[in-house]
Every structure is written in C-alpha cells, then in structure tokens.
C-alpha cells in the first residue's frame, strides 16, 4: 500500500519535473526541475528492480551533471537580463504538436507488441559486472577513455580561452 503510494508520487514528480524543465522561464528553475526529474528517475530505476542503477543515477546525474549545470548557470550569467524565449503560445503549440506526433507514431509502431506483466526480479549486479568485464569490455574501456579525453579537452579549452583573453586585454 505504501509502496504503491510512493510509486505514484514518484511518477507525479517525474511528470512535474519534465513539464517544469521545458516550460519554466528562468534557466535556473529549469535546472532545478531537471534535478528533481533526475532524482525521481532514479527512484523509478529502483522500482524497476535495479537499485544499483538508481544509485548510479543519483551519483552521476545528481552529483556530477547537476553540479556542472548549476555552475555553468552561475558562470554564464547575467540571467537577470532574461534571454528572449519564443512566445509562450508558439512554445506550447510546437511542443504539443511534436509530442503528440511522436506519441502517435510510437503508439502505432509499438501497438503490435503484447505487454505482459513481468515477474518480480531481484537485482542482478553480479551478472552486470560479469557482462561489463567479458562481453562489453571494449565499450566499458572506451567509456573511460572518452571521459579522460573530455576532461583533458575541457581543461585545454579553459587554458586556451584564458590565454586569448589575456592577449586581448594587452592589446
């Protein structure tokens, strides 16, 4: 009973987060709604029978990506001079047409599949670990390489940008 109530609350929070992210006027509110959404998607992962992925979601998305986004909102201000958004009417019009179109297309395409209630599933972290170290070892290593490259790239962009700025200031 409590589990059911918590589940529907999490679904509601996901919907509120999605709507708030795409409809809110100010960017910092959009980021905060996005954080709410990421946390509730983590809760949904737990209900899907994988607490490990829920924890990873909180760790990576809420911890790393969320902090990065908040920092960049802070650094790339001044947002009190509000960037012009497209009009609300146009926004909701485009959004509803696009969303309904996607939903219709996917509904048509997927309605042939029968949906069955799956059995309860226990967490499969040991299988996941074996999978990542045997069959998907190459993508796993490539992900770590990608992250290293992106860290070095971000640092280099920062250094080069600063040098150019100093040169501009001298001239």
């Amino acid at each position: 009973m409590i589990g059911k109530a918590v589940f529907w609350v999490i679904v509601l929070l996901t919907i509120v987060g999605g709507l708030g992210t795409c409809l809110s006027n100010s960017l910092i509110y959009a980021v905060l709604f996005l954080l709410l959404l990421m946390g509730s998607v983590g809760g949904l992962y737990i209900y899907l029978g994988s607490p490990f992925l829920g924890m990873m979601q909180v760790l990576i998305y809420l911890g790393a990506v969320g902090i990065l986004l908040v920092f960049s909102v802070m650094l790339a201000g001044p947002f009190w001079l509000k960037p012009k958004e497209r009009g609300r009417f146009l926004k909701i019009g485009i959004g509803s047409v696009l969303g309904l179109g996607v939903i219709l297309v996917l509904w048509k395409g997927l309605s042939g599949y029968e949906t069955k209630a799956g059995p309860e599933r226990v967490s499969q972290v040991n299988k996941l670990g074996k999978l990542l170290l045997t069959e998907y070892a190459l993508p796993f290593e490539l992900i770590s390489l990608l992250i290293v490259i992106s860290i070095i790239g971000a640092i280099m962009l920062g250094i080069l940008g600063r040098k150019r700025e100093e040169k501009d200031a001298l001239e």
């Binding site: 589990g3 059911k4 589940f7 529907w8 996901t14 919907i15 999605g18 992210t21 795409c22 960017l27 959009a30 959404l37 990421m38 998607v41 949904l44 992962y45 899907l48 994988s50 992925l53 990873m56 998305y61 790393a64 990506v65 990065l68 986004l69 920092f71 960049s72 650094l75 790339a76 960037p83 012009k84 958004e85 926004k91 485009i94 959004g95 696009l98 969303g99 309904l100 996607v102 939903i103 997927l110 069955k116 209630a117 799956g118 309860e120 499969q124 299988k127 996941l128 999978l131 993508p139 796993f140 990608l146 992250i147 860290i151 790239g153 971000a154 962009l157 080069l160 940008g161 700025e165």
Partner: protein, 104 residues
C-alpha cells in the same frame, strides 16, 4: 502492482522525450538546449531499462547500456559546458541567434 506494468514506464519515457524535444526547439540559449538534451537522455535510459526488465530476462544488457549512456552524457556535458563558457567569455552571450561566426 502498478510497477509490474511496462506501459507506465514506457509512457513516462515517451513523455520525457516529448518534453525534451519541445525544450530543444523552444529554448534560445545553449544552456537551455543542453538541459533539454539531458531530458531526452534520461528518457532513453528509462526506456532501455524498462525493455530490459520486462522483455529480456536472462542478461542485464539494458542496465549495461544505461550505464554507458550515463557515462557518455557526463563527458558530453563537461565538454559542451567548457565550450559554452568559452563562448560566453568571448562574445558575452550564449544566445544562439547572436552567435553567427560559423554562418557562411
């Protein structure tokens, strides 16, 4: 139990995709577009995990790919934010319509 029904999760991930597309079109700053893109990636991860849980029982391949999506999203966010802050330093704006240096 409602969480044994795949349709709830699939409709939710579809909803996230729709919200992300809408934000991607209606936002005018790079940061807003990046936020909407994160929404789409979250929807994709949720969908992969749902398919893995309900329609594919033996090996957790969907979980592995959701982890890969998280890694790619994190690195992509880092690089895009570095580029964006660089652009902001040079041009003092991150609105896409004012950044026309690459337009032929």
């Amino acid at each position: 139990m409602p969480w044994n029904d795949p349709r709830v999760f699939q409709l939710l991930s579809l909803f996230l995709l729709g919200c992300g597309l809408m934000g991607l079109i209606s936002r005018r700053t790079f940061l807003g577009m990046l936020i909407s893109f994160e929404l789409i990636l979250n929807g994709a991860g949720l969908n992969l995990m749902t398919v893995d849980r309900f329609f594919h029982q033996d090996l957790p391949i969907g979980e592995a790919f959701t982890l890969f999506i998280m890694g790619v999203a994190a690195s992509e966010t880092a690089v895009v934010l570095a580029i964006m802050i660089l652009l902001f330093r040079r041009y003092k704006t991150i609105e896409e319509e004012k950044l026309r240096g690459l337009k032929g």
